[in-house]
């Protein structure tokens, strides 16, 4: 198991925390927490096998959050001295005092056991920041070169995003946690122009909470996937345009993860359901009065939130409020049975403890309720993807994500994909193009006729999901099997554009 980097541990985290928390106490804060954080991010982009741009960046700083007279106060700083930390604590209290004039709802937090001086490190073998940049560029350029040698490919874009996140958290209750996790996202896209049109085809390899070993043979067969891209692209260029209408869909995990993210993940965030995100990303049709009542989907639908999933992007030991993470139910047998919570939301609705979903993306931002790894469970003895396809007379098999959009209450969505195959009499019958599927969330999930078995299950995910004001990004994984949906509306995107 990897250890937390010594240079992070060498930062004066406890001295800063002690100084800030004591000052907040002295100024009458009912609660105060301190978070020292370093987020290192490296991005490489290649165009046609040449390095187009790269940046190795970090964000280092700390934050003090207080509750004073029932009002939040937050401030962040960058000077790593106890004196500066005291000033930041004073600023946080000042913000709370000024803000109290416009606060009508006292802040209370759900209780959480004290976790004293605990550490947690994510599961990875090779720290990507210990791999020389030249080696990474050489690997991506080699893959790109191989694709460019194929006459069916005009251009190749390649990118690699890598993040190492290190956090120290301490609060006035006595909890202190030190954590480190790594994630990365490689992506290659090929493109071809022909007959006045162009098409692209992108790798399906998901972003993961793994180290550099992901690129060298662990958990994904990149050479195998890259070898298939030119043929898939060529077939897409030659594919007929889809006939709009109602179809049965078999949705591959490489596409379904995003539908889960938008229509279940965001819809079951309690802060959103209660209106705290109303002016920005919106609310949710899954309102709190419907807990344990709303028929979200069919009886084969079981969804869990889980911040302990190995290699998940949202996975961590303790959240940014010092809450031990866990797995919890969201939809059981098709019925809404749970929400994602932070400590305030849990207390507000009398739900006992938080389930560990507070997260801040940088030392400069305040933690907000963010998504756990929200996953659709497979049927223990469910069929293979081929088995699902064999049960469809006229349908479409959807692979890979592309465009996504959903309304501000998570009803109406429209998604596209990397590739779409016609299903005729239980068999795949070649790609079609210009496809988008459109539905209302509950109609869609209630139309889910079957979910695949564990052998179809893949942990997909988003590297940078946006939420909140000021805007924050969060990484989150979504596992799911392949699944069969009956009678879903398919649009022809050419016709939608009036062509």
């Amino acid at each position: 198991m990897r250890q937390i980097d010594p240079d992070f541990l060498a930062l004066p985290m406890r001295r800063l925390a002690d100084a800030a928390l004591q000052r907040a106490r002295d100024l009458g804060a009912e609660h105060a927490d301190f978070r020292l954080e370093r987020v290192r991010a490296e991005t490489l982009r290649l165009s046609d096998a040449s390095l187009e741009g790269s940046i190795d960046a970090d964000d280092l700083g700390y934050a003090v959050r207080v509750v004073k007279n029932g009002t939040w106060g937050f401030a962040s700083g960058i000077d790593l001295t106890p004196e500066a930390a005291v000033k930041v604590a004073e600023q946080a209290v000042e913000v709370a005092v000024i803000s109290a004039a416009v606060n009508r709802e006292p802040i209370e937090l759900a209780p959480e056991p004290v976790h004293s001086d605990v550490t947690w490190v994510s599961a990875y073998d090779v720290d990507p920041f210990e791999v020389p940049m030249r080696d990474k560029v050489t690997l991506l350029a080699g893959w790109s070169d191989g694709l460019l040698r194929d006459p069916r490919v005009d251009h190749v874009q390649a990118s690699l995003q890598q993040v190492k996140e290190q956090k120290f958290y301490a609060d006035t209750a006595g909890t202190s946690t030190t954590q480190q996790r790594v994630r990365l996202y490689p992506e290659l896209e090929v493109m071809k122009t022909a007959d006045g049109r162009f098409e692209t085809m992108r790798t399906l390899a998901p972003p993961v909470g793994r180290g550099y070993e992901y690129l060298t043979g662990t958990a994904w067969d990149f050479p195998g996937e890259l070898a298939r891209l030119p043929e898939l692209l060529e077939e897409k260029l030659r594919a007929p345009s889809v006939e709009a209408g109602q179809y049965d869909l078999v949705v591959d995990p490489s596409n379904l993860w995003l539908t889960i993210h938008e229509s279940i993940g965001h819809a079951t965030e309690l802060d959103r359901a209660l209106g705290y995100e109303a002016a920005y990303a919106g609310t949710s049709f899954a309102t709190f009065d419907q807990l344990d009542k709303l028929v979200y989907g069919s009886q084969v639908m079981n969804v869990v939130g889980d911040r302990t999933t190995e290699h998940g992007l949202s996975t961590i030991g303790y959240d940014d409020e010092g809450v031990a993470t866990r797995r919890f139910d969201i939809v059981s047998g098709g019925v809404l049975t749970g929400y994602q919570l932070d400590r305030r939301m849990a207390r507000l609705k009398g739900l006992g403890a938080s389930n560990g979903c507070a997260f801040a993306d940088s030392p400069g931002n305040m933690p907000i309720q963010r998504m756990a790894n929200v996953s659709l469970l497979p049927a223990p003895d469910g069929p293979s993807t081929e088995g699902l396809i064999s049960g469809v007379e006229r349908g479409i098999y959807v692979v890979g994500d592309k465009s996504w959009s959903i309304d501000m209450q998570r009803y109406n969505f429209q998604f596209t994909g990397q590739r779409f195959y016609r299903i005729e009499n239980g068999r795949l019958a070649g790609q079609v193009r210009d496809v988008a599927y459109q539905a209302t969330t509950t109609d869609f999930w209630r139309s889910m006729a079957a979910v695949g078995g564990p052998q179809t299950y893949v942990l997909g995910g988003a590297f940078n999901c946006g939420k909140g004001q000021p805007g924050q990004v969060a990484p989150v994984s979504h596992g799911c099997p392949s699944a069969l949906f009956r009678n879903v509306r398919i649009l022809n995107t050419l016709q939608e554009s009036g062509k």
């Binding site: 165009s47 040449s50 187009e52 741009g53 790269s54 940046i55 960046a57 970090d58 280092l60 700083g61 009002t71 939040w72 106060g73 937050f74 401030a75 962040s76 700083g77 960058i78 000077d79 790593l80 600023q91 913000v95 709370a96 000024i98 803000s99 004039a101 416009v102 606060n103 009508r104 709802e105 020389p132 940049m133 030249r134 350029a141 493109m191 122009t193 162009f198 209106g275 705290y276 109303a278 002016a279 920005y280 919106g282 049709f285 305040m366 959009s405 309304d407 501000m408 209450q409 109406n412 429209q414 210009d434 988008a436 459109q438 004001q469 000021p470 050419l494 939608e496 554009s497 009036g498």
Partner: protein, 455 residues
């Protein structure tokens, strides 16, 4: 150590052939509220040092936050080493000859929670009025000041302080079924009239008391400036010359080349950027922390000039680096951080456009805009916070929301009226882009693809 001292020291320490050093000092303050009460708030400060070293044609970029003086040598050495180790960059060019800002020696400009000194009480008053009037207010106020210092081994010493303020104000009925939104961009919050904004929202909630259900279809539609801004920003982001040349955007000419010179609209619209434009002024020179499809670190400090992207309805320019300009044979026209659209003459106000509408839809704003087809730039998204039916020159009620599927480029070819341009806050993209001046537009057949149940 001041930003200027840090830059000079970094330039001295580097052993690379060329060096660009950028310091971004940023301070921010924000208030967020929901249901007539404050929810979160905060103040923050950050400082980022970016060292871009060039060795031969290789580039190394290392960026670090909260740099202490004793760390500087290591950071510069890391950038130099990365440049030595990097493969050649195809956009490599000599650095831009240096100029010096008149205010180079001034310190970074901060903001604080005090920027809301007059605004916060006014917001509190608005909460009280809303409570009494049966409304709930939601929204976000943010003020950021970023001071950027750029020093290069070619002699450039540039400083730019950029204040960016925005207020989003959203009013809802207690049952959350009626909703109205407005937003303003501001440099300092001194010009924000919360009471007037709240009053306009109250008016729209009144309009919404008469609910009219309409099916999906193509409708004559009045797009207000904020909605036009969101669509035109997406068009602008897609207007990279290199992507067009490679055949991968709506601005690619079938068979090769770009569509520069092609008429996009029968109306003489102008879409342009101008770093000195009143009210939406922005950085007057290129600041590029890394190279990409639409930027090049070698172009740092390149002066920006007013640039027409569309002139007289014709595609005039695409976003260019010096490298892409050589590839396309077109002038160097880098991206600029504001966007302005105008029709011919003054144009009518939105109210005048409503009064001359026989039957059509009036939108408030658009949301969750995503690209469906890059070839046509087909975008999808939703209407939000009020779609109103206009009949015989008057708003007669609120209509359900819709999902749209439309291309902003195609829309330009179908416009029938361009209203008066005004400064506006984009709804969806205001996290990234706030400096816009846009007109309202009349589109005879906006494609409302399906009904959205969302309120």
């Amino acid at each position: 150590m001041s930003p200027q001292e840090m830059i000079e020291k970094a330039l001295d320490l580097s052993t690379a052939d060329d060096v660009v050093v950028i310091v971004d000092e940023r301070s921010s303050a924000n208030l967020r509220f929901a249901g007539n009460t404050l929810t979160t708030n905060g103040v923050g400060r950050s400082a980022q040092l970016t060292v871009i070293s060039v060795v031969g044609r290789g580039v190394g970029v290392v960026s670090r936050a909260a740099v202490r003086p004793e760390q500087l040598a290591d950071i510069v050495a890391a950038a130099d080493h990365a440049a030595e180790d990097a493969p050649p960059s195809e956009d490599a060019r000599p650095l831009v000859e240096g100029t010096r800002s008149a205010d180079w020696d001034l310190p970074a400009e901060p903001t604080s929670i005090g920027v809301f000194g007059a605004f916060a009480p006014a917001l509190g008053d608005a909460f009280a009025r809303a409570e009494a009037g049966g409304r709930k207010l939601y929204g976000f106020a943010e003020h950021i000041v970023t001071t950027t210092f750029v020093g290069t081994s070619a002699g450039a010493r540039l400083r730019h302080a950029q204040p960016t303020g925005r207020l989003e104000l959203n009013a809802k009925s207690p049952d959350m079924k009626r909703s109205a939104w407005t937003g303003v961009a501001t440099r300092d919050f001194a010009d924000v009239d919360v009471a007037a904004l709240d009053a306009s929202l109250a008016q729209r909630l009144e309009w919404a008391k008469n609910r009219i259900d309409l099916p999906a279809g193509r409708y004559e539609t009045l797009l207000p400036p904020t909605a036009v801004a969101d669509l035109m920003i997406y068009l602008y982001w897609t207007a990279g010359a290199r992507d067009a040349l490679e055949g991968r955007t709506v601005f690619s000419k079938p068979g090769g080349g770009t569509r520069v010179g092609e008429t996009l609209s029968p109306l003489p619209i102008r879409l342009y950027s101008d770093p000195a434009a009143p009210g939406v002024a922005c950085a007057p020179a290129v600041v590029a922390h890394t190279s990409g499809r639409q930027s090049s670190v070698f172009d740092n400090a390149l002066p920006l000039a007013p640039t027409d992207w569309i002139a007289d309805g014709t595609l005039a320019s695409l976003i260019q680096t010096r490298h892409s300009a050589e590839l396309t044979g077109l002038p160097v026209t880098p991206a600029i951080d504001n966007l302005i659209m105008e029709g011919a003459g003054d144009g009518r106000s939105l109210e005048e456009m409503i009064s001359s509408t026989e039957r059509g839809l009036l939108l408030t704003c658009l949301w969750y805009i995503r690209e469906v087809d890059p070839q046509s730039l087909l975008l999808t998204g939703l209407t939000r916070d009020g779609v109103y039916l206009v009949e015989n020159g008057k708003v007669v009620g609120e209509v359900n929301n819709f999902r749209f599927n439309e291309s902003p480029v195609d829309l330009l070819g179908r416009l029938t009226e361009v209203g008066a341009a005004e400064q506006t806050l984009p709804r969806e993209w205001n996290d990234y882009f706030t400096r816009t001046v846009m007109p309202a537009l009349r589109v005879p057949d906006f494609n409302m693809s399906t009904v959205s149940q969302a309120n």
